[in-house]
């Protein structure tokens, strides 16, 4: 028999009626989509929803467990997607059989050397150089060496673009890219976290928003690495692809992979949530000052949770890119990859893993179905408008998209106001 913890289980609702009802509703919606759109389309939707669920779990531990708001989910998703592409895409012989890898390696060595020299300059005060002089030296050295390295890189990357197209992939198993994608996203998260987590939470939001745009700009403009706007496809799958076993079965196999991943993440997270570590995280969120007074190392715990969330976002982003079988840096949009995830989390129930998964699937279904529905409604309105003699705008699709932007924004504000704990609130009983 399961032992109940007083601080985690609400005593009254032994039968999870709310959960059952909400998930039944989602199941019904899924079945309706299957009936209306056919199995291949619907399975694809489910796989994407599953990938989004991983992203949402990443955000829910940051926001729900620890109260850290990440406004740049998109950036971490894109990093994951890049790694999925870079590690699994076949090797590009044009690049590897030329002398370019050596030159690229040399440029990388220059970069490492430059970093070491500048780092050394920042330590000059230890051998008696005055601090002001040291700072000046370090800044000047930094600027000059930066220019040298950038120029070295520019030379090599231009060569790569003109002679080999782009670096290509490493031809490794798909799973490697996913793992490294998570690690890379976690690494960037660590950097941002180190800078911001001791400060007001607003700063984290600003910094993550910025880093997301920077990551996107880098991936979009580094043609030598990602082919930029030309996009890279097709990316291999971890399971047999549609060409071998047909669309529905292939997607169903992919779905089972993501489902296993979600189950594993879910299990590990709920273990962590109930463990002393999770209680400490929540104690910090609910009352930072008293947690600090009890001698908890707040910033370290915060950093851990932020990095963990970013890792999940990287993995989810990698799974999403592999599934789409295409890496398109321009396709990463704040709306689709940051705010949609945010809506999933706050609507589902921040801090409640089950609620987050519910939110991810439910919101994704609405999101996917809203495009045809909005277009239909717009057509209807236009027909009506034409009858009244209005001028009909031409770019219907883009306008329908803008209507979705508005609706997502409205949803965020409404949920914050009327259901701040989401549809499946985190079940915590606070002790006085």
């Amino acid at each position: 028999m399961e032992t109940k913890r007083a601080d985690t289980v609400a005593a009254q609702s032994r039968f999870p009626l709310r959960e059952v009802l909400l998930f039944a509703a989602v199941l019904l919606a899924v079945l309706a989509v299957y009936a209306a759109m056919g199995p291949a389309y619907s399975t694809r939707m489910l796989v994407e929803a599953a990938c989004y669920a991983i992203l949402a779990l990443g955000l829910t531990i940051q926001w729900g467990y620890a109260g850290q708001f990440n406004a740049g989910v998109m950036g971490f998703v894109a990093l994951g997607g890049f790694c999925a592409m870079f590690f699994s895409f076949p090797i590009n012989p044009d690049f590897w059989e030329s002398e370019l890898p050596g030159e690229l390696g040399l440029a990388l060595l220059y970069m490492i050397a430059a970093v070491l020299v500048v780092f050394g300059a920042t330590r000059l005060d230890r051998i008696g150089v005055p601090k002001k002089l040291r700072t000046l030296l370090a800044v000047i050295l930094g600027l000059v060496l930066y220019l040298v390295v950038v120029n070295a890189f520019r030379g090599v990357t231009d060569q790569i673009e003109s002679r080999a197209g782009f670096v290509g992939g490493l031809g490794l198993p798909v799973g490697v890219g996913w793992v490294v994608g998570g690690a890379l996203a976690g690494g960037v998260g660590y950097f941002i976290g180190r800078v911001c987590l001791g400060l007001r939470s607003d700063y984290l939001a600003i910094a993550t928003l910025g880093i997301a745009e920077i990551i996107k700009a880098f991936l979009k403009n580094s043609d030598w690495l990602t082919r930029g706007t030309a996009t890279v496809s097709p990316l291999p799958w971890p399971v047999p692809g549609p060409a071998e076993v047909g669309f529905t079965l292939a997607r169903a196999l992919y779905l089972s992979v993501t489902a296993v991943m979600i189950a594993a993440i879910f299990f590990l997270l709920s273990r962590a949530y109930h463990a002393p570590w999770g209680r400490m995280i929540r104690a910090i969120r609910d009352n930072e000052i008293s947690a600090a007074a009890m001698g908890k190392d707040i910033n370290k715990r915060r950093l851990e949770i932020f990095v963990l969330g970013c890792i999940l976002m990287g993995i989810g982003g990698a799974a999403l890119a592999s599934f789409n079988s295409m890496f398109d840096p321009q396709g990463y949009l704040p709306l689709n990859h940051t705010f949609l995830v945010l809506v999933m989390v706050i609507l589902g129930g921040p801090g409640n893993n089950l609620g987050t998964i519910f939110g991810a699937v439910a919101v994704y279904i609405i999101w996917i179905m809203s495009a045809p529905m909005a277009l239909y409604l717009m057509d209807l309105a236009m027909a009506l408008g034409a009858g009244l003699g209005w001028e009909t705008p031409t770019n219907m699709d883009s306008r329908a998209l803008q209507a979705r932007v508005f609706v997502i924004g409205l949803l965020i504000t409404l949920v914050l106001r009327y259901a701040p704990k989401g549809l499946l609130p985190e079940k915590v009983r606070h002790h006085g």
């Binding site: 607003d202 700063y203 910094a207 883009s398 932007v405 924004g409």
Partner: protein, 334 residues
Amino acid sequence: MNELVFFINNVVIAGSVSGSIYAIGAVGVTLIFSIMRFAHFAHGDMMTFGAFMVLLLATAFPAAGDAFGVPSALVLLPLAMALTALLAVGIDKAFYKPLRAHGVKPIVLVIGSLGVTLMLQGLIRLFAGTSGQSLYIDDRKEIFRLALPFEGARAPVVITEPQLYLFVITLVAVIGLHVFLSRSRLGKAMRAMSDNPDLAQASGINTNTIVAVTWVIAGGLAAIAGTLLSLDVTFKPDLSFFLLLPIFAAAIVGGVGHPFGAVAGGFVVGFAETLAVFNWSVLLRPFRDSLPSWLLESGNLAFVGTEYKIVVPFFILVVILVWRPTGIFKGKVI
């Protein structure tokens, strides 16, 4: 000498232009922060909204400016400022005030403002489309070419009419704000509330009034910044996310809650951006004989390409957060 002219055109003037825009935007952000204690992410779209109002009005009354000999957009700007101020107050009433009344953490207000920014973005693009449009409806953009009185300076210093308006209006706005904050009863009450909201309330200051005044000022300034930016280039409905980062960086560099720090921060960020994308090899060209050849080989000595401009405010942000999170003028809140 031509290199100097090139430098003036590409750094001094361009930096002052973006510096002014960022400064006006950052003042609004920092005022909102000092009164309501949250980073207002919808500020970029409030700027866009102001410019959009000017666009609508100028399309409706293309001849409004003829009587004054200035572009219609400029004559209609005060009206657009009023509309944007109204919008700002309305948004506060509808979305932020209920959250404040619930006593939520400031970060929830930040998320709420992201919701608001999406709503504004969606609405503006729904009506305006996503392409750029000129705010000069019936008017012609004057371009002034000032030849420098030096031997060998063949290229002139180029400055456009909207840039001149921008400088003048920025100056007027900053002086006006200074007078308001240091002389008027409401302005002092704003500073008082930013210092200590509880004591302001205990002194009988109606904090709801102060909040509304703050939104009116922030909204009006946002309309100015958005309009002048659109006059200088074109009205682009999708600029907001790219404006947010430099504006927040400016506010933080100047010390959050410190309006004149925000002005300084705006110019710091604006000049840093233009200096970073400036091609320094142009300035080195006169000394080409005495410099090592590898330095000039590539012909491009910019620190970052224009496509990576957004890295600059981010870099500044990170440096200031690591080195001095209270900003150069010691902001109140971190």
